[in-house]
Subunit: 362 residues, 4 copies
C-alpha cells in the first residue's frame, strides 16, 4: 500500500512539493523494450504548463523533464523509470500569509489536522503542481498502449456555460486556451473567464475524456473494475468533486429501454448502436469508446475575504492575492487524459497477466 502511488502493474509513485527543489515520479512495471525518451513526454507536459494564457496561473515553469533511470539506448529496460522536474519559479514570498491563515475551501487546514505540520509554501504537497507528474506518467503510459489507443480530453463546461455537444470538433481543442471542442463557445468562455479573473474570482468546470480503440476485456470485477479504477484516478486529481462514466448521473433518469445499448454482429465484429454505458459493462471494457467526465470545483484562491481561522485558533478573514488559476479545470484537461492512459496501461498489463492474452492483438 502506498498513498502516493497508483496503478498496480503499471505503478506510478509521485513525490514533491510545490516549492521544494523538484518534483518527480517513479514508474514501476513498465514493459521492456518500449521506445522512450524525454521527447515523448515533454509535449504532453507543455500542454499542462502554467502561464500559457491569462486564464491560468502566471507561475513560469518550463517543466523540463529528465529521465534518470529505466531507459537504455532509447528503450525501456523493465526497471523503474525515474522522472524529475526541477522547480524553477518558487516565489515563496507570494505565499507567506498562508503559513498561518487557512484558505477556506483549501487543503491547508486538513493537512494540519492530519499531520500537525505542513509545507505551506505554494500549497506544498497539495499544490496542483503535482499533476505535472501525472501528465509525465501518462505520456509513458501512451507509449505502452501504442498508437491504436487514442485518448483525448476536452473542457465541456466552465462555470455555468456548457458547450453545445452538437458542434463537438476534436480539431478545435488545440486551437484555444480552454481545450474547448466547440469553437462557438470559445468567445463566450473568453469573455466570461476574463470577467471572473478581473474580479479575482474563480469558477468550476467539467472535463470529458474519450479513449478510442480500447480493446474489449480490460477491467477486472469486482473491485478492480475499469470504471472504479478510473473513478479513483480522476477523483484523486486536485479539486475534483464528481466522476461519471458514459451517461453517468443522467442514467438515473433513464428507463431500461432507453439505457440499453443494442448490439449487432456486423462483418463478424460486434458493434453497438449506442454508448450509454460509456464503453464499460460489469467493470470490463466492451470495445466501445471509453467515456468519462469529472467536475472540478472553483479554486479557493479568491480576492473576496471569507471567514476563516488561523493555525493558532483565531478568527480571521482570508483573501488570496498573487497569481492563481481563475479556472483550474482548464489545466485539468491534460491531467484527466493522462490518468486515463495510466489506468488503461495498468489494466492492459493486468489483463495479460491473468489471461496470457494481449487484447490488442485479437
Amino acid at each position: 500500500m502506498s498513498d502516493n502511488s497508483f496503478g498496480h502493474l503499471f505503478r506510478v509513485t509521485t513525490w514533491g512539493e510545490s516549492h521544494g527543489p523538484a518534483i518527480g515520479c517513479v514508474i514501476d512495471g513498465c514493459p521492456p523494450r518500449i521506445a522512450l525518451s524525454e521527447a515523448d513526454i515533454q509535449p504532453w507536459l507543455d500542454q499542462r504548463r502554467p502561464g500559457q494564457s491569462k486564464f491560468t496561473t502566471q507561475r513560469q515553469e518550463p517543466d523540463s523533464v529528465e529521465i534518470l533511470s529505466g531507459v537504455f539506448e532509447g528503450r525501456t529496460t523493465g526497471t523503474p523509470i525515474s522522472l524529475l522536474i526541477r522547480n524553477v519559479d518558487q516565489r515563496s514570498r507570494d505565499y507567506g500569509d498562508i503559513a498561518e491563515r487557512y484558505r477556506p475551501g483549501h487543503a491547508d487546514v486538513a493537512y494540519d489536522l492530519k499531520y500537525g505540520i505542513r509545507d505551506y509554501r505554494g500549497g506544498g504537497r497539495s499544490s496542483a503542481r503535482e499533476t505535472a507528474m501525472r501528465v509525465a506518467a501518462g505520456a509513458v503510459a501512451r507509449q505502452v498502449l501504442g498508437a491504436g489507443i487514442r485518448i483525448r480530453a476536452a473542457l465541456v463546461q466552465v462555470g455555468t456555460h456548457r458547450i453545445d455537444r452538437g458542434r463537438w470538433n476534436w480539431d478545435s481543442v488545440g486551437d484555444n486556451p480552454f481545450f474547448c471542442p466547440d469553437p462557438e463557445t470559445v468567445p463566450v468562455w473568453e469573455a466570461y473567464l476574463g470577467a471572473v479573473r478581473k474580479a479575482g474570482s474563480s469558477v468550476g468546470a467539467v472535463v470529458e475524456i474519450v479513449a478510442e480503440g480500447v480493446p474489449p476485456g480490460l477491467g477486472a470485477p469486482i473491485y478492480g473494475k475499469l470504471d472504479s479504477d478510473l473513478a479513483m484516478a480522476l477523483m484523486s486529481i486536485n479539486a475534483v468533486k464528481g466522476v461519471e462514466i458514459g451517461d453517468g448521473f443522467a442514467a438515473a433518469a433513464l428507463t431500461g429501454e432507453e439505457n440499453a445499448d443494442p448490439m449487432r454482429m456486423e462483418d463478424g465484429r460486434l458493434v453497438f448502436a449506442a454508448n450509454h454505458a460509456g464503453g464499460v459493462l460489469g467493470g470490463i471494457s466492451t470495445g466501445q469508446a471509453l467515456v468519462a467526465r469529472f467536475a472540478v470545483k472553483p479554486t479557493s484562491s479568491i480576492l473576496t475575504p471569507v471567514a476563516s481561522v488561523t493555525r493558532g485558533g483565531e478568527n480571521v478573514e482570508v483573501s488570496t492575492r498573487g497569481r492563481h488559476d481563475p479556472c483550474v479545470g482548464i489545466r485539468a484537461v491534460p491531467v484527466g487524459a493522462a490518468m486515463m492512459a495510466c489506468v488503461l496501461a495498468d489494466h492492459l498489463l493486468r489483463h495479460r497477466g491473468q489471461t496470457g492474452h494481449d487484447p490488442r492483438l485479437a
Copy 2:
C-alpha cells in the same frame, strides 16, 4: 493486488456466484477485541434482502450469515474473519436463456470477452447478490468505527422523480420500501415504480450517503484520498455510473465565493458555516459530515426486446422474463452505506498506523 478485495488495512475479499452453493467474504486486518457476533451483522443484511416489497426482485433468500473464523468468545481476535451465506433460492431454470443470448446493457458479453467463459446462472459473479457481502463487511466496519460515527443512506431520486430536500427526514427512511427520506415523495414513487414494474421496465436512481461524527484527518493524499477511495468503492457497486462528493457536479457551476465553506472557532472547536466540500478537503476529512452520492443505471432486465447477439455470433432480440428489480437503486442504499463504513474503517486504521494517533480520541 487482488481484484476481488478492497481496502488496505481493513481489507475485504469477496467471493461467490449468484447460483453457486454460497457467497462469502474474508475480512482481514480487523482490530482485536471488538465485540462481534452474527447478531451485529444480520440486521444490516435484512435491510438489503430481496423480496421484501414488490419493488425488488422476488428471489427469496434469508441471507443468513455465519461467522466461520476470527471471533472467539464474542470478540474479534485480530485474525481473518470469514463470513458465509448459503444460497438458497437458485432457480436456475429461470435463466437458461442467458447462457447463449447476451442481455444488452448487462455484463454477460463483457465477461465472455474477457474470460472466454462465464457462469451464466443468475448472472454468476456479476449478480448484485455479491453486494450482500459488502453489507456484511460494512456491519463489521461499523463495529470497528464505534457508535460515534453514524452512517446513513437514502434514495433521493428514482427515475425522473427527485425528493424535495427541504422535507428531508431521516426517520422516514425506515418507514417505506424505498429508503426515501421525504414522506411526501413515497406515494409518488410508489405509483411510478408500480407502473414501471407492470410494464416490465426499469429505472435508475440516485443514492445519498451521509456519515456524521467522522473525525478530522482521515484520508491520505495524493492517491489514498478519502474521496478517491470512496469514489472507487461506490463505483464498484453494480450498475453505478457516477459518484460525487459534497456539491459534486453542481460545484462546476459555482464561483469560488459560493463554494468556500467559511470557518470559525466556536468554543475552541472548528466549525464550518457550510459544507459544499462534503466533509473532505485535499482528500482529508475535516470533521464535517461526509456526504457522497451515486447514480445507479436502470437494470438491463426488461420485457421489451432489444437487439443483441448470441455467444455464437448470431443477431437476436433479447427480452428478460422472470423476477427482476424494477429499480436496483433501492437495494443499493444499504450497500452504499456499507461501502462508506468500510472505507472509513480502513482509513481510521491507516491514519493511526502513520500518525500513531486515533482521531476519535481527540
Copy 3:
C-alpha cells in the same frame, strides 16, 4: 496489504482456526479456463493429512475440500476460487490447559502480547492446521503451471540424522512415512523418531524442494525476486527458522571459482555445468532446476516440564500431554512444495503481465 494473503497476481488468502467450524482460502487472480475440480486438490491434501503414521499427530481429519466458487462446468472462470475444509476432530478438551499457561517456544505468548486475546483451542490461528490451505492452493497453482513444471520435495535431515545425497531417489519419497529420498536412511529415522516419540520429545528437520522445468525469466528484481519471494513464502510456514537457495549457507565458504556455474550453448540451448545458484541469478530464474531448502525447529509440545508463565503473570512449569507431532518437519514437506508452486504461478502471471510473453511457450 493483507497479513493473511500471499502472492500478487495469483493471490491466496487463508482463514480459519484449528478448532473453529472450518478453515478455508480464497484464490484470486487464477487464469480462466483451467481444468479444476476437487479431485485435482484432494490427493495433495491427503499427503499432508495428519494421523497417517505414528510419527505425526493422531488428530483424525479427512481434510475433505469443497470448491464453493470460481469454477463452472469443470473450468475456472477467472473469478475468486473459494475452498473450504470443515474441521471434524476438534477435541477441545485436550487443550484446556493452554488457555492460561504459555508453552515455551510456542506462539501462545506472542499472540497474547500482540492482540490481548487468543483463540487458544488447538493453537487457534497459529496451528499448523492452516497449512492445509497452502497445500490446497498449491494444487490449484500446479494446474496453472501445467505438467511441464514439476515440483517435488523431500525430507533431507531429521534431528541430527541427514540423508546420504548420493543415494537420492525421488521414487523412494512416496514409499515411506518421512518423504525420505534415501531408502537406507528410512530405518535410521524410524528408530530415532520412535524413541523421540516415546520420550514425549520432538526434533527439527530440513526439507528440500526442487522444481524442474521452470522457464527462464521468472522473478522480478529488486524486491520481487523469485528467491526473496520464496524466502518469504517458506519462512511463513509454521516453525521454519531458515531458508536457503541453491548452495545457501554453504556458498559463504566458497570462492568465486567454485561458485560459478559455467555456461555453454548446446544444440542452440543454454546449459549450465553446475547449479550452485539453485536456478536463480539476480532474482530471476535461469531455466535450471529451482532448489530451495528450509529448516524446521522441533515442536514446542513436549512432555518434559519447562519453566514458563501464565496469562496472569505467575511462574509455572509447562509440559504438553496429548497428541502432537514428534517431527513437524515431516508434514512440512508437501507444504513447502505447495508454497513453491504458488510462488511460481504468481511469478508466471507477473512475468506475462509485464512482458506480454509466456515463457513456457519459448
Copy 4:
C-alpha cells in the same frame, strides 16, 4: 504491487542503475514530525561506501545524499520523502566487455532472458550500487524507530573462516574494515582476503544482525510475519543465498527440550532464559533481541576464466578485470542492518494501525 518497492506502511521504492546519472528512492508513509536531515542519513551511507579499504571495490563514490521532498524545516511532513544520490564515478569503459559476454554466476544472462534488453554498464540495475538506497532508507527508518531500538550488524564468517563467538565485542565492529566483532579474527581475515584479492578471486561471507529493544507484538501472522518479511528483505540483497532467524538451520538438529526458551516473570516483566527463537514466536516479536543471519555468495567477478556464452549464442571464456569486491559480504553488513530497520519501522506502523497501540509506550 511493485517489484521495486518493499514494506507496506513504511514503503520504500528504489530506482536507478549503476552508471546512470543518479540513484534514488522514495519513502512513503513515514510518520509526520520526525526529525530528519541529510546529516541523519549520511553517516550510514559512509559506512557502506566503496573504496574505503583495499578489500572493497575501488570505485570512488562520495554517495552524497539529497532530500528532495517530504521534509520541512527539519521535520518530516507525512508526504513522500525523495532521496537522491548522483553517480560520480561511472567508468563505463571498464565494463565494455560485459555488454556481450555473460559473467557466470552473475545476473547478466538472467536479465537478458527476462527482458530481452539490459543496461550492462556496471551491472545496471543488478549492481550492488542499489543497496546505497537501502541504507539511506534504513537511516530514515531508524529515526522512526527512535533511540530505544538499537540495530547492529557484524560479519561473522568470511570464506572458510568464522569468528569465535566467545570473543564477540560490538565495540570492535567499527575498528576494522570488515565489521568484525572478534578482534583476534581481524588479522586472520586480513591475510586471507589479501591473498584472495591478489589472486583476483572472491569469497562468500555470513552477516549477523541483532536488534535490541524491539517491543513485543511486531509482526502479523500468517503471511505478514516479522520473520518472513525479514527473510524476504534480506534475501533481496544482492548475492544473498540464505537467511536464518535465531538458531536457524541449527534448530533442525535440536530437540524440543533444547530449543525451548524458558520464560519467567521477574519484577513484573517477562524474561526469557535463552533465545533460540531469535526474538520471534509465531511470526511475532517477543521482546527478546531479534537475531537474523544471512549468507552472501562470492562475487562472480574473478580473474580466472570460466566457460560462458555471449548474447549472440557463442561459447566463450569470461574473466573479469578491473575493480571489484573480493568479498561483497563486507559491504552487505550495513545493508542488512538497514533492511532490518525498514522491516521494523513498517511493522511498527502496521501494528499500531491494527491495534491502535504503540508497543514502545507499553
